[in-house]
């Protein structure tokens, strides 16, 4: 009966949410048409250039800093992981800032900005035009939209699109498309026609750390994950029991407390139970990139996982 009480309490939900929730259901065909439009226009009208003179410096370092803090931007430059690829339609430009893939997850950071006076002074946001990762040979990458976010920087017309993708299929070509958000039937898609190829081939190393009981934790510059143990993401009010072991002997505590001298702040984490032929999986995403050559293992509680 408790679940029913919760269902009853939902009667008090704000009516505007109820109305918004119906929009995709009411107009499913609109969404499909807009995707077709994106593909067809992409073939004819897209200009793609590479900003050759930008070298390994980020075009919009503030975009990257919004998602990956600390020395992450500099690390991307040092490791030659800056993309600086530019894709445009008549009114907007999207810069692919960086793409990190460790074969399991990927971080993709894009910046969208208006090119001329006709473009809206307010950049389109995720309510109107959402970025979707699709397989080039058809179909949306499962779960990709769940990990995307759009945000505006204060005092700037540019907006960032951030993808955090999990359970990749690195061998299968993908691309980011921008489609109208479901239900925006009478709106124009300002980013229509912009299609960004995404190569998910791993471009960063992963450290495999193993315990004596054969538990394995994988650590890459931007995340750690395991299919053998549940990595409990420490809550802001709780105490973390996850430490990344450094070669210099000073462990890095994975904790939401950003004031820690030797701490690494997560940007999020998740755990999925085994289902439908899939193993259980847990993951913690980092807010700051780490250089995994500085690390020799992971400690969770009293269990040590040594890098192989």
């Amino acid at each position: 009966m408790n679940g029913e009480k919760l269902l009853r309490a939902m009667n008090g939900i704000d009516e505007q949410y109820l109305a918004q929730a119906l929009e995709p259901a009411a107009k499913p065909k609109t969404r499909r048409r807009s995707i077709v439009a994106v593909v067809s226009i992409a073939a004819a009208a897209i200009l793609m250039t590479t900003a050759v003179d930008a070298g390994y410096q980020l075009t919009h370092p503030e975009s990257v800093a919004h998602w990956l803090t600390g020395g992450s931007g500099q690390m991307l430059a040092d490791k030659e992981l800056v993309l600086n690829e530019v894709y445009e339609n008549a009114h907007y430009r999207v810069t692919a800032e960086t793409l990190l893939s460790d074969g399991f997850m990927a971080d993709l950071i894009l910046t969208a900005e208006p090119l001329d006076a006709e473009a809206s002074p307010e950049m389109p946001d995720i309510h109107q035009s959402r970025a979707v990762l699709c397989y080039t040979d058809g179909g949306e990458v499962e779960g990709s939209a769940c990990g995307s976010g759009t945000t505006a920087l204060q005092g700037s017309t540019a907006k960032q699109v951030y993808f955090l993708l999990d359970r990749l299929e690195p061998g299968r070509p993908t691309e980011v498309r921008f489609e109208l958000y479901s239900g925006a039937e009478n709106e124009e898609n300002p980013l229509e026609g912009i299609v960004i190829p995404v190569d998910l081939t791993p471009n960063v190393e992963t450290l495999a750390c193993r315990s004596e009981e054969d538990g394995v934790i994988y650590v890459s510059p931007f995340e750690m994950h395991s299919d053998t143990i549940q990595l409990n993401v420490p809550l802001p009010s709780g105490h973390s029991d996850i430490r990344l072991l450094r070669n210099n002997g000073i462990p890095l505590l994975v904790d939401y407390d950003s004031t820690l001298l030797h701490g690494l702040e997560p940007s999020g984490g998740w755990y999925t139970q085994a289902s439908e032929g899939r193993e259980s999986m847990s993951c913690i995403e980092f807010r700051e990139l780490i250089d995994i050559s500085d690390f020799c293992g992971v400690q969770v509680g009293d269990t040590v996982y040594q890098a192989q």
């Binding site: 309490a9 939900i13 009516e15 119906l22 499913p28 949306e140 499962e142 999925t272 439908e276």
Partner: protein, 182 residues
């Protein structure tokens, strides 16, 4: 006839509004009522009561979105009818939805008033991206099936299930944070 015209007819007391509501939304309301009540005759009674309540109330409070407004009345009415049918078997759909929502309920926390719970739910929904909010509400408010959601959103049922699982987990965290037990 569009929603604005139907609402205008209601406000002016024109009974053609009832036929227009039935034509536009009768099927969906019947299905929503069936989700909670489990049999066609109760659902029909619930929908009839919804028309009557809407007909009376719409003149004093013009709704921004007609179907959401009608569905809300329908849902209230359905739960009211359930209160009178306690001894009877609940619908299979309601049992399924109830079981899923119970995964969001934390243990060992103080009891909560329904109004406070609604506030917390609104707060939880406000923090969600529109797509996730829509999926949550279409499942747990409008009672749509996983298959229907997957078809409407052009994705696999597995993705919907995974997303709902994560949303229930997030809701549980939110309820725990607010110290709520049901």
């Amino acid at each position: 006839m569009d929603d604005e015209q139907i609402i205008s007819l209601c406000i002016s007391g024109d009974e053609r509004a009832l036929a227009a509501i039935w034509e536009s939304y009768g099927g969906r309301l019947q299905r929503l009522a069936m989700t909670f009540l489990g049999n066609a005759s109760d659902a029909e009674e619930c929908v009839s009561e919804t028309y009557y309540q809407a007909w009376r109330a719409i003149r004093t409070a013009k709704p921004a979105h007609l179907y959401a407004y009608l569905a809300k009345i329908c849902r209230y009415t359905a739960f009211g009818m359930l209160d009178h049918q306690r001894a009877q078997k609940r619908s299979a759909e309601l049992v399924e939805l109830t079981a899923e929502m119970e995964q969001s309920i934390p243990d060992s926390l103080p009891d909560a008033a329904e109004e406070h719970l609604s506030e917390v739910l609104n707060h939880f929904l406000a923090a969600l991206p529109p797509e996730k909010r829509s999926i949550f509400l279409r499942r747990y408010w409008y009672g749509e099936s996983i298959a229907e959601l997957a078809a409407a959103l052009h994705c696999k049922e597995g993705r919907i299930k995974t997303l709902l699982h994560r949303l229930r987990k997030s809701l549980r965290t939110e309820l725990e944070k607010e110290g709520i037990q049901l």
